[in-house]
């Protein structure tokens, strides 16, 4: 039978299928962080169950960490307690932790790929919906709740119904200034925030084939924003080149042997999908969102569409926008370049390339937060920090930061933030904050202009 990439990986990990019920899916790698793991550790403790395969779990601290003075004790007492509990739980259960200050520390979906923990053909889970990021490697990776984190601790498996299969193709030649973030925001704006619910999405077509691993991670990361549990892209030479030589990637003969297997991880010609969509690359432009879910996006040159629904009206009222107006020339006081969507080295190179020799507008508060310690080190090594500092941007230490504003990095009520993160929900970046999702390039251009501009006119 002809199989999709998704089928091949899924079927290779089914321990048992329960009749009229879910599959027991074996998990190769489990990633954990401080926010969604404590109650799962407690659950095991209460039941007197040990962690079954502690060597298959890796921990980091990212959601609830400060982005300044990470060498000092964390000021917020609740955050400090949560971080301490993660450390204790990892010690007690012999789980590797890359905590605050460790050279491998970072946002879970940035540090695992860059350490070679993420590899093609694996099943991966994490108590975080953006686990879909790892699908960029041809991996089945999805977010789980805390009860499921406990299940993985107890059995290295989860009980989950096999999702349906969706394929999104993008073919053609991208316009100047269009980046992976614009592509995924465009797809979600076209399909809607629940179009992927119940599905796993494969991204195919020359646009994804020609994309860097960083770009593929940005795309797969936001699969959940259209409701899909995960997204994935077939591994190819770009994938192998990225994985090879990384800290925890297989070496030498072991790598070659695995690579032969990875090469088989492609959707067979004629394999069936439950749903399929195709887009033309030429139709995509830099995107911005205008509402309170990631599906409410427009091309930067377009006007906000008219939609009579109650929910749409509520969203526009929250954002302080009116249907029919353009976002061009809207004054913006905050920009944020960071989050598991856009905090890899390529994102900062793109931003720095635009910013070089320019200064941020007076009114703008520009925050740059690398995804990991390694990305931060790379920023220094390439001299990008000087560009950011000279332009008046604040370069912080790694973490999830203003994407979900669990720490002090909050956008004040009523203020707009052009943000490279993944969610523009009400209050996501701080109570009353108004988020406009965009690419690192759009965020950089906004910071320089102090307002939203159609920068594509000036690109050559």
């Amino acid at each position: 039978m002809k199989k999709t990439l998704f089928d091949k990986i899924w079927d290779a990990h089914v321990v048992e299928s329960i009749p009229n019920g879910p599959d027991i899916l074996y998990i190769d790698k489990h990633l954990i962080h401080e926010v969604t793991s404590p109650q799962a550790f407690q659950e095991l403790k209460d039941r007197n169950i040990p962690v079954f395969r502690p060597d298959k779990t890796v921990a980091t601290a990212d959601h609830n960490t400060p982005t300044e003075n990470q060498h000092l004790p964390v000021k917020d007492l609740l955050s400090r307690k949560q971080l301490k509990e993660l450390t204790q739980n990892c010690e007690e259960n012999k789980i590797t932790l890359y905590g605050l200050g460790h050279p491998y520390n970072g946002i879970v979906h940035v540090m695992a790929p860059e350490l070679g923990i993420t590899q093609p053909g694996m099943t991966m889970v994490c108590g975080d919906s953006h686990t879909s990021t790892h699908g960029a490697f041809g991996t089945i990776a999805f977010g789980i709740g805390t009860s499921q984190v406990a299940q993985v601790f107890a059995s290295q498996s989860v009980l989950v119904e096999k999702p349906k299969k969706l394929r999104v193709n993008v073919n053609g030649k991208l316009k100047k200034g269009v980046t992976p973030k614009d592509i995924i925001l465009y797809i979600i704006s076209e399909l809607g925030t629940n179009s992927g619910t119940g599905y796993f999405c494969e991204y195919a077509g020359n646009v994804f084939e020609e994309m860097s691993m960083e770009g593929r991670m940005t795309v797969c990361n936001m699969s959940i924003e259209m409701g899909a549990r995960g997204g994935l892209i077939a591994p190819d030479q770009t994938t192998y080149d990225y994985v090879e030589g990384r800290e925890f990637a297989p070496k030498g003969e072991a790598f070659e042997k695995l690579k032969t297997y990875w090469e088989s991880l492609k959707t067979d010609e004629g394999a069936e999908f439950d749903q399929e969509y195709t887009f033309e690359a030429e139709a995509i432009e830099p995107m911005v969102t205008y509402g309170t879910n990631p599906g409410m996006g427009i091309k930067i040159s377009q006007a906000i569409p008219v939609n009579e629904s109650k929910s749409s009206g509520k969203a526009l009222a929250y954002m302080g926008f009116t249907a029919g107006e353009s976002l061009i020339d809207k004054p913006i006081n905050y920009i944020f370049i960071g989050s598991c969507t856009n905090s890899r080295i390529e994102d900062f190179r793109i931003a720095a390339n635009y910013i070089k020799g320019k200064k941020k507008a007076e009114n703008v508060n520009a925050l740059i937060v690398p995804g990991s310690r390694q990305v931060a080190a790379q920023i220094e090594a390439e001299g990008l920090h000087t560009i950011f500092e000279e332009a008046g941007f604040q370069l912080r230490q790694p973490g999830c930061s203003a994407c979900l504003a669990m720490n002090d990095d909050k956008i004040p009520a009523g203020e707009y933030c052009v943000s490279t993160s993944n969610r523009n929900f009400e209050g996501r970046q701080g109570q009353g904050s108004r988020t406009i999702l965009a690419s690192p390039l759009t965020a950089a251009a906004t910071a320089i202009a102090g307002k939203i501009v159609d920068f594509t006119k000036h690109l050559n």
Binding site: P38, F52, H63, Q82, G127, T146, L159, P163, I224, E426
Partner: protein, 196 residues
């Protein structure tokens, strides 16, 4: 886990689409390391203003609406995987959430906590909102055994789907951890034959 068999109760309407888990429980309340106390912060920023004053017009704050069933707009529970959302709804006192669509992770989290997500047709959802609006004391019966939700006064009912395994878990109060631990021998055997 608490068993769920049937429930007949009044409902609170939340006629908003795409309610995300950041609204259900904002991220700043995720610093706790246990499951207690999330109920008081359910829909925090919709229930209270920045100064902590009750927003009178929000349905959960309107005295006429009360009950153990939450009826919400399409695509409920999208966004973050935080199980704290299900804990908060449960702790507030709801036992059932009805919508025309649920986000995957939220649905799983609810079922793992004895909170029953009931997916109905958009038409039936409209009927529910209408009935509650007309009479906030109208009773709704949710019968898991027969997979039927019924508007008692109007004698309107609809069948709903649920995974057979999950239904059994809800009816008996079993959870997945017990089940998986009982399968450890098979899981070990799987590991031994795993070649890559």
């Amino acid at each position: 886990m608490e068993k769920f068999i049937t429930l007949t109760h009044t409902a609170v309407p939340l006629e908003i689409e795409n309610i995300d888990t950041d609204q259900i429980i904002p991220a700043r309340f995720l610093k706790a390391t246990d499951k207690a106390g999330f109920g008081e912060n359910l829909f925090r920023d919709w229930r209270f203003d920045k100064e902590g004053n009750l927003k009178e017009d929000f349905p959960l704050n309107q005295k006429k609406y009360h009950g153990q069933i939450l009826v919400a707009g399409d695509n409920f529970g999208c966004g973050s995987s935080r199980e704290h959302a299900a804990w908060a709804i449960k702790a507030y006192g709801f036992k059932v959430v009805v919508s025309s669509y649920f986000a995957d992770i939220f649905k799983g989290n609810s079922l793992n906590n004895g909170l029953l997500p009931v997916q109905v047709s958009p038409e039936f959802l409209t009927e529910l909102f209408k009935a509650i609006e007309e009479n906030p004391s109208t009773e709704i019966k949710v019968d898991l055994e027969n997979q039927v939700i019924k508007l008692i006064d109007k004698n309107l009912e609809e069948r709903f789907d649920i995974d057979a395994y999950k239904k059994m878990c809800m009816l008996k109060g079993f959870d997945d951890i017990d089940f998986l631990v009982s399968k450890l021998d098979q899981i070990k055997a799987f590991e031994e034959q795993q070649t890559v």
